[in-house]
Amino acid sequence: MAIRAPHIDIDPYDDTVLNEPYRMHAEVRAAGPVVFLERYGVYAMGRHRDVHPAIKDWETFSSTGGSGIADIRKPDAWRPASPIVEVDPPQHTKVRSAMQRILSPLVIRGWREDFEKEADRLMQQLVERIAFDGVTDFAEEYISTTFPAALGLYPSPEQRENLFLLGELNFDGQGPRNDRFEATQKRADLITDWYNASMQRESMVPGGFGEKIYEAADAGVIEPELAPLLVRSFLRGGLDTTSSTISATLWYLARDPKQFSLLREDPARARVALDEAMRLETPIQTVGRLTMRDVEVDGTLIPNDSKVIMMLASANRDPDYWDRPDEYDMDRSLLGHVALGNGLHMCLGQMIARLEGEVLLRSLVKHVSEIELTGAPVRKLNNNLRSLKSLPVRIKPI
């Protein structure tokens, strides 16, 4: 006989919790396989052993109710679903395959040289400066140059600021309609025209992958009305997440010179260095799912048609799964980390993110022998995106 989920009164979107969510995660994991968040009327799961298989089981835990806390099919929260993130098979299969062809590893590998040039250009500037901000001058600077170029957006002076604002809105929107979301929405309202124009075909530089999405629509592979929505997914999801991973990696490397030495010894560790930072930071903290039937999770019942918040960040530091969960160790086995999801909804842009991060870290170790923190890092609070606002560092050039 299944038991009911314990009700707990915590607010995952409170400033204090967003700053340091680890105690909340421990509380959720300790309370049971599933808890009910009274304040929001949704279920939540935080144990690795439950989250890892659940996010893969799309037939039970569907994405069609929206990626956030709200059920987007209900009248009070209705909005159109994302044609890739918020659909399941069979519709998902068609769109995902089309996108996978456009973002083939072969295509992405072709960007390496351009990304390397950009990384070296940036690092040459930063070694002149010695002291800089690891978020705005390093991670965000790099991503806001490489990613829009790969997507194929015409550069404009307001582009960087606007794209990061869209990311902020996207991830604030996955939480409740709180003051934080309302404030971001207000700022984003001012760039609506720019936003709408940026996903149209006229905004795509020939040769970028944005243009290829439109060509897939021409060829009848995807519905024509999906093309701008798919471009939109990349405008909203492609920058902050990668930038957060990169700045977190720099932070962990600055805190632990031994780990930085490991990377310097063998720069081929760059990709695992990023992956381990992704695990600890988990840029996208949670994903929302919707139950398609009454389901028992380790003996606890979640009724049909319930929204469930999958706490990826909690699973990624669950001491029942990870040895020394809070420690940054690029030599550990990272099998099973869920920062990019699991199963058919796993992050589509991950190979772009990995290439960007790898190339930048390789350039970093080519130019820098020591990294030192010169102040406390400051968090940028968002309803669902965990990232830093600033990370003051000083480097020793080689």
């Binding site: 996978q100 590893p105 990709r271 990019l340 699991n342 190979m351 990995r354």
Partner: protein, 107 residues
């Protein structure tokens, strides 16, 4: 149990006890076999678990999907007639003795 043999491009052979139901990619990662990255976790997004299957085993493997076939055109080392993505090979008792060779690079 089923034993899987992983040959490195340097000619070394590792014999691994594998659990039926796991994939050849998952087993390699769990046992920390070098040279198989499986970065996308088996979602057919990365082509970093490319292996060359010993020809005698090819017919015994699960058939190749269209997407795997396309992803194999995007591998870092050249695709050959016996290329597979090993995230798509589920281990069973019938695959006891399966031998795969790991290419020089996956990136």
């Amino acid at each position: 149990m089923a034993n899987i043999f992983y040959k490195t491009h340097k000619g070394e052979t590792l014999e691994i006890d594998a659990k039926p139901g796991d994939s050849v990619m998952y087993t390699a990662l769990a046992k920390r076999v070098q040279g198989i990255l499986g970065e996308c976790g088996g979602s057919l997004a990365c082509a970093t678990c490319h292996v060359y299957v010993d020809p005698e085993w090819l017919q015994k493997l699960p058939p190749m999907s269209e997407l795997e076939n396309e992803m194999l055109d995007a591998t870092a080392c050249e695709r050959q007639a016996n290329s597979r993505l090993c995230c798509q090979i589920e281990i069973s008792d019938e695959l006891h003795g399966l031998t795969v060779t790991i290419p020089e690079t996956q990136l």
